[in-house]
Symmetry: C2
Subunit: 991 residues, 2 copies
């Protein structure tokens, strides 16, 4: 009877809602108003949307049920399916709150790589909840990205310092995938081409599971062993490397120095999966001889979030300097000779190396890496050590108390935060723990374990004493330990000294940046200072083709900050995570509905990870029907670099398919190759609309040919923003499809991650979906795990869920239509000035289009890069540069951009075309003009000499609005060659 909030609209559908809410979301998300859209259509010569769409999308590609307005849903309590109207922003806020409340916050000491943390509020508000940090793209345009590049440099310095290794990348997806990357990197560099990888048995099960899955595609034999120097000798003929966990899964700490020596003596390499906080106290992997260290920065200020997103770290010694996977930030200089950061060694990446790449990592965890770096900066070396020491001391006290109460501790020799305890009945301990409000880990029927963390209080300690029925209180126990000496904190106890033989002796984080910003005011200013150098969606459109940089709305982001989503351990008991389960199911329901698929997995935590997972699923399926020999993957030459790299990782042989001059796939070539490889055809990877931004005709026939020849169709969903509500990948003939939720479905790009790359599959593939060794999920005949946690980056799924539930099916369709219209509107405005590389037979593009800059090379000595850099002077982020075609610019406005912004951008490009014309006409010299000298930072202006053939004013205020509203590049053009030659990837040491 009371006013209550409904998880679903079940009660509303039964009655008319005469009082629709006014805070509807779709009109806030979509840039142009209805009137403006009419204007846009009319400039293109259309009377209505339908006739426009007919010219853009082939008839047989359009989905049948074009007019459905609402998604199906199901009632939280009754589980009955029904149709849910769209939620307004405030209604959604209530829904999200209610779903979050279905999760139970129980203090979880399960550990296994996930710990309670105290995120400094200054970082939450100023980074995590700040669009100027989370709406940035990967810092390809270095001159307008110096802030987060500096932050990533801090991150890399933190990782190298703590691990004792010389180089770190700028993050990977999580600990387990980082371990897999290490395995593959070492394997690829093994001179003896050995194929066995030894893994210590004392390792987290999820890491092992991901290693096993990853090993399959590379034919690596993962051999689980009890680590010892003898094991090395026994396996040296076959094994290229070995992975140990440090501290180990049961909490033990071993000194692996001898092991490392033995391994090196056998030309094997050693990987340490390790813990950054423990490394403030213990000897580093670098010191005892590890070649690679991997792990997660979760406990450096990142919410557990039911498993992610967290930054996976990866550090290695100099030997692998130019081999390590992922992005790498380096210090170079700009043309004026000033120091400037940039992404280094890009040539290693898969968009260059394609199927020869050994890693497909693209989107990583930039935002999370930056948060962790700020966490380390805020605490500084002393603060971090303090946190670690406190944890160690408490663990030690508890250990002694347990022992004095007669418990046998498995890892009694050396430990940091984790105790593995032999008990009579694990279940009854777990039950007692739950009664006190704690989750512990059940290792086996007679063994439990628990991990301490920075959140532990006096009260927690008391409760743990009670749970284990220790006949004392912490107070008296501690007083006894201190021999009657009066003490007021655990630091004064003898138990707080980390054992000498394992103790770290080397200093770390001695750089200024880790020693200045320890007050909230200083850290806030440092964060804001960095942010002020970076262009984000909060400043201007970021029209990066294939990246779909759309609005990341506050209503979508809000639930991510809810503690009941943020503070859930991925291995929390099922009955504590009903909220997450509901959300994940509901999101899956909508994605399947949109695309016509039957099952989904949210485990892949990037698009590339989805590709790899999807292809692995295909292979497992084929194997299961006796077609395991199929190993050919057809991929169009125009495909994104992750496609061939992922195919290679799944153990497939890539056969490229040609494109025609008009950009379309060469159907004849495809057909020929499909038929030729008919017996071995495993899969075809298709991106639709194509990476050239066109809805190709004949896609159905194409996919038919694949099926006819025994292959499966992998659908790359990167361009899904053109299709949502209009076409269904499933109908077109796809068997698997990944979504980049960080593109089409509003998860912010975070400056290079997080991302989510769920895959949807047809029913025949459902049994093979990724699983997790700890938590039941995925298919019956699963390929195993593809990432550390059961549902990947679960805690950001509310963003996409919010987007879809607020937009509704009709709103999403409107968004796609607006995205198509915006792109065509811009293309039409720009066509008189720039050649469009491809359009369809009606002269239309899909949601993006490619501008040709190739002709300017001859006519004016200008390349696409020059245009990109010049756009910075106009306060814009460049379109995607030289992809998928060299010397072109690919523009994708998305539906969120307004007419005002698109016009501003077109005006800029038109003005730049005029500047090019002046060079063509000899009015400006080649090689020393507004474009080749771009961008023009403030320092350029300030110099007294001005020897340019144009005025200062033209350089920086080429259009009037800029004198009012200008975003400045902070450095001049980067010198890439210099940077790659002189690789500096950590902060300069303190002078």
């Amino acid at each position: 009877n009371k006013r209550n909030v409904h998880l679903t609209y079940s009660n509303r559908t039964s009655q008319k809602n005469f009082v629709p809410p006014l805070d509807t979301f779709s009109r806030r998300h979509i840039g142009p108003s209805k009137d403006e859209q009419e204007y846009q259509l009319s400039t293109l010569g259309y009377k209505d949307f339908e006739s426009f769409l007919n010219d853009v999308i082939p008839q047989n590609v359009r989905a049948k049920e074009n007019n459905k307005k609402h998604f199906p849903s199901f009632d939280f309590d009754t589980h009955k399916p029904h149709t849910a109207p769209n939620y307004s922003e405030s209604e959604f806020g209530e829904l999200a709150e209610n779903v979050a409340n279905k999760n139970k916050l129980v203090k979880t000491l399960i550990g296994m790589g996930y710990y309670n943390v105290k995120i400094p509020p200054v970082i939450i508000r100023n980074v995590f909840e700040n669009p100027e940090w989370y709406t940035q793209y990967t810092p390809y345009q270095a001159e307008i990205s110096q802030g987060r590049l500096e932050s990533m440099m801090n991150y890399q310095t933190m990782i190298t310092d703590l691990t004792g290794l010389s180089i770190s990348n700028a993050s990977l997806l999580d600990e387990a995938t980082a371990a897999s990357e290490a395995m593959v990197m070492i394997m690829a560099n093994d001179r003896k081409k050995r194929k066995t990888f030894l893994v210590d048995s004392n390792i987290y099960p999820n890491t092992l599971s991901v290693l096993r899955t990853r090993a399959r595609g590379f034919n690596i034999d993962v051999k689980v062993v009890d680590i010892s120097s003898e094991i090395i000798t026994a396996n040296e003929k076959d094994s290229f490397g070995i992975l140990v966990q440090y501290p180990a899964a049961d909490g033990s700490i071993f000194d692996y120095s001898e092991l490392a020596s033995a391994a090196h003596a056998s030309n094997m390499h050693v990987v340490a999966a390790t813990d950054l906080l423990a490394l403030t106290l213990m000897k580093t992997p670098g010191e005892w001889g590890a070649d690679v260290a991997v792990g997660s920065t979760q406990r450096f200020g990142l919410p557990m979030g039911f498993g992610g997103p967290h930054a996976g770290f990866f550090a290695c010694n100099d030997e692998f300097k130019r081999k390590l996977p992922g992005r790498l930030v380096g210090l170079s200089k700009d043309r004026l000779g000033n120091p400037a950061y940039r992404l280094a060694l890009q040539t290693r990446e898969q968009h260059i190396r394609r199927e020869k790449a050994t890693s497909n990592i693209c989107t990583a965890q930039a935002l999370l890496a930056n948060m962790s770096a700020f966490y380390a900066i805020y605490h500084g070396p002393e603060g971090l050590k303090h946190i670690a020491s406190r944890i160690y001391s408490l663990t030690n006290i508890l250990k002694r108390a347990l022992e004095s109460a007669g418990y046998d501790i498995s890892n009694k020799n050396h430990f940091f935060d984790t105790l593995t305890i032999n008990v009579q009945c694990a279940d009854s301990i777990l039950q007692r723990a739950l009664a006190y409000g704690y989750n512990l880990r059940k290792v086996s029927d007679g063994v439990v374990s628990l991990s301490m963390d920075e959140s532990i209080t006096n009260e927690d300690l008391s409760h743990l004493f009670s749970i284990f029925e220790i006949p004392s209180t912490p107070e008296t126990f501690i007083e006894n330990l201190s021999d009657g000496k009066s003490i007021s904190s655990v630091e004064q106890l003898p138990v707080s000294a980390f054992p000498k033989e394992l103790r770290r002796q080397t200093p770390y984080l001695q750089h200024v940046v880790f020693n200045r910003y320890h007050s909230e005011t200083e850290l806030m200013r440092y964060i804001r200072y960095l942010q002020s150098k970076d262009l984000s969606l909060a400043h201007a459109m970021i029209p990066l083709g294939s990246c779909t940089m759309k609005l990341n709305a506050v209503s979508e982001m809000n639930p991510v900050s809810n503690p009941k989503f943020a503070n859930i351990h991925p291995y929390a008991p099922e009955d504590q995570v009903h909220g997450y389960k509901y959300l994940i199911n509901d999101l899956g329901l909508m994605l399947k509905n949109l695309t016509g698929f039957d099952a989904a997995s949210f485990q892949p935590n990037s698009g590339a990870s989805g590709e790899y997972a999807g292809l692995s699923v295909i292979r497992a399926y084929q194997k299961s029907i006796g077609e395991g020999h199929r190993n050919i993957c057809l991929i169009p030459v125009s495909a994104h670099g992750t496609n061939p790299a992922s195919a290679a990782m799944a153990g497939l042989k890539v056969v490229p398919v040609k494109c025609l001059n008009n950009g379309n796939l060469d159907f004849e070539d495809l057909k020929a190759k499909a038929e030729k490889h008919s017996n071995h055809l495993a899969a075809f990877m298709v991106t639709y609309p194509s990476t050239f931004g066109i809805f190709e005709h004949g896609v159905k026939e194409t996919l038919n040919v694949i099926h006819q020849n025994g292959g499966q169709v992998y659908f790359d969903g990167a361009n899904m923003n053109a299709m949502v509500g209009l076409c269904k990948a499933g109908d077109l003939g796809a068997d698997v499809c990944h979504f980049n939720l960080h593109k089409t479905f509003c998860i912010p790009h975070g400056g290079g991650g997080p991302g989510v790359g769920p895959i949807c599959v047809k029913s025949h593939l459902a049994d093979f979906l990724p699983s997790n060794p700890v938590i039941h999920c995925g298919g019956q005949k699963s390929i195993g795990s593809v990432s550390s946690s059961p549902y990947g980056s679960a805690s950001i799924l509310p963003v996409s869920w919010a987007y879809m539930r607020m937009m509704g099916l009709d709103g999403l369709r409107d968004a796609s239509k607006a995205a198509l219209l915006n792109a065509n509107y811009m293309a039409a405005r720009l066509a008189p000035y720039y050649k469009l590389v491809y359009t369809n037979d009606k002269g239309r593009c899909a949601h993006e289009f490619i501008l040709d800059a190739r002709e300017f090379k001859v006519s004016a000595g200008i390349e696409a890069t020059d245009i990109a850099k010049r756009l910075q002077d106009y306060s814009f982020h460049a379109p995607t540069l030289s992809w998928p075609i060299t010397n072109t610019l690919m523009v994708e406005p998305t539906e969120s951009e307004s007419m005002y912004e698109m016009d501003r951008f077109c005006d800029a490009l038109i003005s730049i075309r005029q500047e090019i014309r002046e060079i063509e006409e000899g009015k400006q010299p080649k090689g020393n003009n507004l474009l080749t000298n771009a961008p023009h930072p403030q320092r350029d202006l300030v110099r007294e000499e001005w020897d340019r053939p144009y005025s200062r004013e033209r350089a920086v205020y080429p259009v009037p609005i800029l004198s009012e509203r200008k975003f400045w590049p902070t450095v001049a053009r980067l010198d890439d060659a210099y940077g790659d030659k002189n690789l500096f990837c950590t902060c300069a040491p303190m002078q």
Copy 2:
């Protein structure tokens, strides 16, 4: 037994806490580390803090119990007092959550000026939760404040457009004080010097109460009448004006055109207290002839917050253009001739007019005004009208349904959102309502009323039907109303048309700014664009003397966003607001403890409002003991302008007291005047440490003299940051004291408000503390109300509460010590370069100090303003300019500034001194140099001609760090004279 969170530490105090949390707050709040403080002390020649303090604070001023560490507190459930240790940041987060949960969220339709709202999430995150907006100071330095000045201009435009009047100020404190300001402004301008003010009886009781209190000091007779043209004629001899509420308190709407004509015919002026949302539908006060319109912008996107803060608006016709109270933003131009905003007509303000001022308004509600402006911008004229129409339609439907069920509606003729309903038994209706989850208003035993708002849903309407036992559902009722025509929203109903005779016919908000930013992306960018022009604490220190611009920490701000604090109506039943009550009590307990007072009131919503309230309390007390004739208030000439203005408002005659050449109060003069006026001495207002930044000796003797002569001591707590934990105002002899919680106690300044100015009093004054006519609070013999709501700006009290509970008594004492040390450190660094105007006998200052610029006038033609503007080129905000002494700069660093930042600032001032020396030495010309031409915006640099006697580089990068980290002024120096002559205070109309 379970893990649970404690409202207090009661259970902890009984046991030792061996596991103190590491996320302690005080070290994050205070800038310098312990090591740095030792260094600071050593540069001043001290070995320890104690010897330093001995030189700064007179011995007899120091508080006795110097070493107490903890504040008292009381247990939430048992109400037992006890001592509470300091909370760490995360512990405080839990405490705040728990206290918030003691408030009950019941949907409240009580209205009376407070409504449920839907705050657009884009505004919450990007303004309300964004330090770049909330940490700004009042925009005195226009060149680095163009963003919020533009926003305030938008606000002023919104208010004038909606009220139909020609000029609006940039906000007042709330509706009731705005009404009082209107009354006094009109009175002061009445040529016939009449003294009666007519007030329609159909008005909110809180407005009436504040009017009555305010009237007392001015000897105005507030006469409550039933409004009619005859009333005007009957009272024209005595009455200078009349106030009507539009819509009236019972929800009725009357056309006041005739009334206004009659009033004008009698040379009376008309004030309308009105509602912005209703004004989108109804004829404006300007159109029917009101001279002034006042009200609250709460329902334009501001949380109810248990009563505040909200922006009070004030608009008037041209007649009062130069008379209206409060700040006024005007469009002027800068020296380069470009348009630029600034605060206009500053000469009207009380720091110039002192006791002749008729208003003491200083801190207002800038942040809230800006939020409301963004709300209007986001919705635009169409959107606002839509919201209003929906409310009107629903009210109309409910009215008809009630009538058809036999209810008699009092305001049946015309209404907007409020219905006053005659019922059998109001209590039983209220009870039924509560059972359904709603609060309605009880008007009397047989009358209830309710107000609809933008949050009303279908479900709410159904529940209202049930509460009133209407024998129908909204659905069938609406279907019947529509005569069987199929309708899908209320807008299609005939009931949705606002009555023609009252309907607004004029357009509003036609300016570009209200018609472009309707998508979230566009509004986010507009907000961020404005913010990018403004220097805030997120960029650099703001060393404004007497303003205490310290850290506003995220942990302190977080609870303000909690819906259980934000969404509480000030008149919610007592048993729904236990959380607020606990918090307010606990905060009062701490403030009283700090200062040695006995009772507190949180009703004053600014420092000036506190002054006025405190003096009124003194007068009421004196009257109660037969000393009502006492009417002399002694005020030092050095006092802040609000002091004499407040005294005048309280009906006191100001007698200024001289200061000596050394800056100290002239004790002889004071004594002489106190004795001379002994029979009429009401009060003495003292600021301590003095406004010159010195802890004067002899303050106790001074205050003694006052008491000996029958006066009471009013203590201006603006400089409390120097005293907290070190000295107690109560011990010194003060009877009343106000706190600026927005200075000492961390409420952010918000660019000119919100603020909170609670007063504490000795026991003999407690009976007179402010009350509220609706909710029981305040003293038995209260002075009445001083602001609209019972606890003033209640929803920001959690900020100060957080600060105090996390710092603890010892932390606060450390903060004061650090504030004193920081000031003395800077003073010592600057002393070789600038004359310090005053120091004490040991050469020390308190928490701030004054730099003399007067000598440079002769030596270099340089004034303090030039130094202030030049500081902008160094990316700093200037210190307080020419207050309390003309041509000086008063510097207050606060404890939150780090050594690094203070040194950076000192380096800038030292470098500027060098620039002055170059003028003195003839190396740079007078009148055309780095200082007189400052600040140098980017446009200066871009110009081709550079005719300055210094380089571009020196102009903008005078010290090297600026080429890395520069905050730019966006316009050149403002032309104040031009602006005051040509007053433009609203946005330019659409071209």
